[in-house]
Symmetry: D2
Subunit: 332 residues, 4 copies
């Protein structure tokens, strides 16, 4: 559902070539009734389907539904789909937060399925592996949170950095804003410019903080600011923290090895600084870091493709776990 | 009028620093009532005006009105402004064609001031110098036609190329499409892509052909195709023609010198091929050419800034002529 | 060989996932001795090889060699490799022309293996299918020629357009210039600019003309001009021709269906105009066309990914034919 | 001197139209002997000079010399120029630091004119106004330091933020790296990517810290990380700090008004977040800020054109002060 947006498109491309998946229906709203290959001629010759208008009956013919809807729409549909015994991977934000009040504050609407918030599983495979395997309602993480949580969690878990004063400065390509008509996202306005936006108000602020707390079991509040830069795909996140006493570069490296030594999509380097071009069109997250000269400040950098590890790729990774496929199936 | 579009903005910048001009009012439609510096923070600290809603009375306080309106709007206002004795420079397309029927065919609406079409002067200063000085209704040329007419006119006038089979292949930056909310013009759709558009249907096709005929006094029909490429400003036009018998590179050079030897904004090179970066943010047109190996084909290239020589800059150049200022005043 | 350039990198990516291929060695020159994943961190976690310095012995361990070398280098190596019974796909220009004198004129050096020119097969699978299957020396077509030949050949073969006066106007992304240190190709010089280049001198001029003649069996000379535009990947080609008498849009469509009805990588549309974004990261060529109003001029447009259908993808397509694999293996 | 680099070019453009300046010579190294308009066709028709090879005699014919040289070259020339009584504005880094040992550590070479470091004046007009008026050796600030110092100085001076834990995250366009042949700066490598670089090693780290200490009179060490993003011009800097107890948004606003109420090129907004497009091609710095929800963290943002307020524009602003011209002359 929501198959004609950018995340939906990436998901379609991935699922088309996934050996264990058969795409039954592609639901879309404004594009309903149009041929997929007309809306996205890139897919011409590769898919021969029409975007369908959503119906519960049609949806129920599938084992799994991916929801890539504007925020606020998934919560209207999820309860009845769960009742029908369907599994759901929601790429939107409706089920990522634990508190309905926080949802209301950042998404500017009341939550209509608040009773499901507690049981939804936050789909960060590197940290919620076991719970993902068994859930029916998976909340696929936001792109910014993915880029920040993966680098920060090992350091906070092992208390290598102080909980206070963490800064998360993220740069995003424009596809992160979705596919819509808007003067602000027009080529001329975005090209040759850069800006911070939604400062102090972005819905990923509580998503990052709540998830840190839920995994680390301590309240942690980072300062997160997203920026828009002129490129299509990718998120580049720079993080700044104070090292705990006596912690060295080697400790950082060891922590990442402990956490991600067996994670197929996390590439950590103790020498190279990530670059966006190394991860676009992949499901990898690249992580690099530096301890500054004086020795008590840590700088960590991460890069992901916002549409893959930050959306559709991670959704497929989660599906693989939920259905017992190999975690990397269809992603390499 | 229409001061808050891209052409209107460039015009505002130019007029702000023009020594002989006082900007009385900036009329805008959707931005009416807003501070100019809020709509365009680039201008903060440089202008302290508010966009006004248009009124005939306010307009009549000025000697000259620039119209940078969506096509179809100028023809509603021009008759009464002329009646009030105002001078008008229309940056839109309403008064560029001679035939109301052609207007209707390419602009998809009937012309409401068809009786004025004959008296409007097409504002190509290098060719209509004298008529521009005395007109009250100046039709400022389109960006594509400017980039094609200036290189082609000297060659056709001196019959150095055949009238038949001329190809005009133009590339445009995205600001040429104006400032509007549209998925097609969103960053992600335009960036890393290129396309021909409005093939056979663009309203500049008759503008080029009619103007060639009107100046050369022979019917000439070129094939013109516009393309969109991912950059903000500029038009790059490549033209292909068959040389008349016995014509050499030197003849071409001489023809350009004859036509443009004293034109302050036309730079012709017999050796260098134009590049867009050499003209952006200027009112210059750069022209270069090559005769191919076999010797009977001519390739001509031109580059302009679509917002300056292709719109606001040429409008100021025309104003300078209409009011007896130096042709380059405010443009260097 | 030449595995660390842009074409070599794309080829590496394709071959890594090709079910019938085992990559034995990746030869490179300046990168010899370095880990592939250090030169291209994009490949980290996907390949664990080192770029080797070329040696004939090592090369001979493989059935097939891809050469992606700077022009002038392949002709030094090909004779001895053929003698050893190896098959060769040369992505460079050394074996694409039939005449050594033409090679010398456009490549500015004498040809050192001129006796092989006659037996090399020009690897345009849609036209040379049978000869490709049996050759040991395949000259993989240039990116511009691929984008021009595929749209023009059916029209010329069926004499739907006149042989004279054909114009080929091509736009290329910057990866087409290869990976090298050059002020001219630096970001600041290319971004926000556009230009024609090598006008009348590009080595693809004779490649297009010779191939047209060799397939159509009539001498045909088109006017071809390449342009550089600010994007990474892709070639967009606009072609202009005069229709033969009485030829309509339907005839054009039928000719394309005749020629490409069974070609898996050619997508022809009689309604849509191609856009670059629809083909990047694919091996497809998209073709569209329009007959102009007056009815005697034809405009044809094509789009390809210069690194795939214009280089590495077509090379794999040729390999598939040479080794009897399915033509699309590893390319969808 | 160094007139053919990007800063030199911008300086040339500004000085050409400065009413109180006559350009006597443009010295360049690799471009010596070439016409300015051949190296930069943008300037064709506007300047008729040739780049000269530097000679002390020729240089001494001018009252003022601008040096826009690669780092390490100015210190060879400045002593003798000062001895001849010339005034100097050095756009490079040779005279910006106070300590020769720091220079050696970050610029990787010994300083050859270390005795002049103490007397050189750091040309931040908003803070060193009086000393700038009387100096003969002006060290024009670096682009990153300009973007960070202007927003931070008022806050640190009035102790509205804590000295510890300040993070400075900067994004730069590619022209900041100068004009040179380098694969790393080629279009394909930079476009559609982003990266942090020179982490912990950039020469602007000590420039920021030393200048803060020299003006604030307390030792302050910020964490500064530069990033490269795909655009031509501009620096966007995001700063993060802890508010001193009881400090509110109003206090921040008041501090900026106190410091910059009369500064013609500093535009502070308490509501709008800066965007790069609002400052490119101007000498303005835009500053905006937000206090976060919890109330103890401050986020400050600034935007400048790296070639103007970050280089040539600020140099002209300094010249205006040194010679008693109006501070904004030639800059609006």
């Amino acid at each position: 559902m929501g198959a004609s947006g950018y995340s939906g498109l990436e998901l379609t491309k991935l699922l088309l070539h996934h050996p264990a998946v058969h795409i039954d229906r592609l639901f879309a709203n404004t594009s309903a009734g149009r041929k997929v290959a007309d809306v996205y001629p890139w897919l011409a010759g590769q898919i021969d389907k029409i975007y369908d208008e959503y119906s519960l009956d049609m949806a129920c013919a599938s084992d799994l539904l991916f929801l890539a809807l504007p925020s606020g729409e998934a919560m209207n549909l999820v309860p009845e789909l769960l009742q029908k015994g369907k599994k759901i991977i929601d790429l939107g934000g409706d089920f990522r937060l634990r508190e309905a009040s926080t949802y209301e504050r950042y998404y500017h609407r009341p939550h209509k399925a608040a009773d499901l918030l507690a049981s939804a599983v936050y789909g960060l495979p590197e940290w919620n592996h076991d719970r993902i395997r068994t859930t029916s309602l998976l909340a696929n993480p936001g792109c910014y949170p993915t880029s920040a949580l993966l680098p920060l969690l090992p350091l906070l878990k092992e208390q290598l950095i102080l909980d206070e004063g963490i800064v998360v400065n993220s740069l995003s390509g424009v596809s992160g804003a979705g596919r819509s008509a808007s003067t602000d996202l027009s080529f001329v306005e975005v090209n040759e410019s850069a800006k911070a936006y939604k400062v102090g108000q972005h819905q990923h602020i509580p998503e990052i903080n709540e998830t840190l707390q839920s995994i680390i079991k301590r309240p942690i509040t980072v300062t997160f600011v997203p920026h828009l830069i002129p490129l299509n795909r990718g998120i580049y996140t720079s993080m700044y923290a104070t090292l705990a006493k006596g912690i060295s570069s080697d400790d950082i490296e060891r922590a990442y090895r402990n956490s991600y030594g067996k994670s197929p999509f996390v590439r950590v380097s103790s020498s190279a600084i990530p670059e966006l071009k190394n991860v676009v069109h992949t499901n990898f997250v690249d992580i690099g870091f530096r301890v500054d000269g004086a020795g008590n400040r840590l700088m960590v950098f991460s890069a992901i493709d916002n549409l893959l590890k930050g959306a559709a790729g991670q959704a497929v990774q989660n599906m693989n776990l939920m259905f017992g496929f190999d975690e990397t199936e269809g992603l390499l």
